[in-house]
């Protein structure tokens, strides 16, 4: 509280707007004015800073000596127009692969995580195998796995085993991402508090029902953001199938680039990947917003 000004004080005279006396009816309006001014000032600064930074970057790029050459090599409208339809149809393969692989990864990851977090002695060997699986497949570069599966398995000449590089590559992707997602699910399961399990048992559920109706729903809700993050990574990594000869968007773009002596097809392919990953990123932001009521965190 402001102490009342001393009758003889001259201090009040130097404060703009007169003496600061408590209970002044105009203060609320003054505070609102000050708040609005602050907001306007903030907006102006953000705008100015954006113009400077982005404009500066644009000027630096477009006035560089190499820009005309880069523009012709990477951003040729003509080449884009010619190659885009072919790349788009090759991208359909990427879409199919990641849709199928995502479903397999969800099931595989959840299964492995449930086995790894179980305490049932009968599942002991499966726990060991799950841990081994995660260690191995999480620790090998995806590109190497695709290579090994795509070329190694057909070389075994086994009866009834697929030899299509597309299928084998998708299997390698599924196993690699299954191991990442298993760890995501496991973290989610372990994050559900022990008292929730006890509460489930106390209402007469058995262990499996408690897992199914109480632990997993909460675990899955909590790990949706890291899960989507892995899916974004997966959608890009489908391009790695190119190493075993699958002609998906990236490989098609490479072929077109070589044929035209122009890199524009690669930019076209990049745009297609962005077209699926950016919506996914926004979805991720949406579901991980802090006030999401459906997350239902235990207190």
């Amino acid at each position: 509280m402001t102490p009342p000004a001393h009758p003889n004080s001259t201090e009040a005279d130097v404060i703009p707007g007169g003496p600061l006396l408590p209970g002044d009816g105009g203060r609320q309006a003054a505070r609102e004015r000050a708040r609005r001014a602050k907001t306007r000032r903030g907006q102006a600064i953000a705008f100015l800073s954006s113009v400077l930074v982005l404009g500066g970057l644009a000027v630096a790029v477009f006035t560089s000596t190499g820009w005309p050459e880069v523009q012709a090599q990477f951003f040729s409208v003509e080449v884009f127009r010619d190659s885009f339809p072919g790349i788009l149809s090759a991208f359909w393969i990427d879409v199919q692969v990641f849709l199928v692989v995502e479903v397999i990864v969800l099931i595989l990851g959840l299964f492995v995580a449930v086995v790894r977090t179980s305490t049932n002695p009968a599942l002991f060997p499966f726990r060991v195998l799950s841990a081994l699986y995660v260690d191995v497949f999480r620790g090998i570069p995806v590109v190497l796995l695709i290579y090994l599966f795509g070329f190694g398995i057909p070389a075994l000449e086994l009866e009834g085993v697929p030899s299509d590089p597309l299928v084998l590559g998708a299997i390698a992707l599924s196993l690699a991402y299954g191991s990442y997602v298993a760890e995501v699910f496991r973290a989610g399961i372990l994050s559900v508090h022990r008292t929730q399990v006890e509460s489930g048992l106390a209402i007469g559920l058995n262990r499996f029902q408690t897992l199914r109706h109480i632990v997993l729903p909460q675990a899955i809700r909590r790990v949706r953001p890291p899960l989507l993050n892995d899916f974004i990574a997966l959608q890009k990594d489908v391009a790695l199938l190119a190493v075993v000869g699958v002609i998906e968007a990236y490989r098609q773009a490479q072929i077109d680039a070589a044929a035209n002596f122009n890199y524009t097809p690669l930019v076209a392919a990049a745009l297609l990947y962005l077209a699926v990953t950016i919506p996914m990123a926004r979805l991720l932001d949406y579901i991980s917003r802090p006030d999401d009521p459906s997350r239902g965190m235990a207190k």
Binding site: G200, L201, I203, G204, L205, I214, G296
Partner: protein, 256 residues
Amino acid sequence: MSAGQAGDGSAVIDVLSVTKSFGDLDVLKGVELAVGEHEAVALIGASGSGKSTLLRCVDLLEEVDGGDILLDGKVITDPSVDPVAIRKRLGFVFQSFNLFPHLDVLENVTLGAIRSGQMSKAAARDRARELLDRFGLGDREREKPDRLSGGQQQRVALIRAFAPSPRALLLDEVTSALDPELVGEVLELVRELKSEGMTMLIATHEMGFAREVADRVAFLEDGRLLEVGPAEAVIDSPSEPETRRFLGRLHQGGLA
């Protein structure tokens, strides 16, 4: 409301010479206690005296080391007994409510009864609605627990525990996590249950409530039941020096 003697087989819950340790820590050191049909027994004692552990042993959430616990005259602490079947016959309410945050109020109340096969979905819902209405929560059935006050959450937890009409309710300090002004509404519900004849074993720090609702009070200290008797007698004129000390401390703290 006969106060059955431990071991005579007439009680709903019979605790016989139960011991329980966690590592080197002996939490229960030979506890004997019987809770008769329609009887409410309050367990009092300091934090760490073993109240919660005793309740958790009865609900088979902890395994006893020595002794036995009987439900309706049958031993439930034998390894051959299916704990799930026993827990279906008992209701347990936790200090910190432990509602399921991903389910709404109605689902919280009905999940156990439906999934454990005790009631059809329709019957469980009807029963839950009837109870929620009766206890002033009828308009909250679609809310998630985090939208409710602590008192409302604990009332839902109580309804969840007794909706399937268990043989007995085990209440583990159900008001200890509540703001003081919310304690009343929860105790009111427990009072109602008592008036309906629900058999209850109640760990509590609320001496006024224990005296009012409990038929008998059992004073637990350091893993032993030092004094068991009619509520007024134990609380107003305890015969054991330890009980007097404990109650004296509560009075000093303004808690009783």
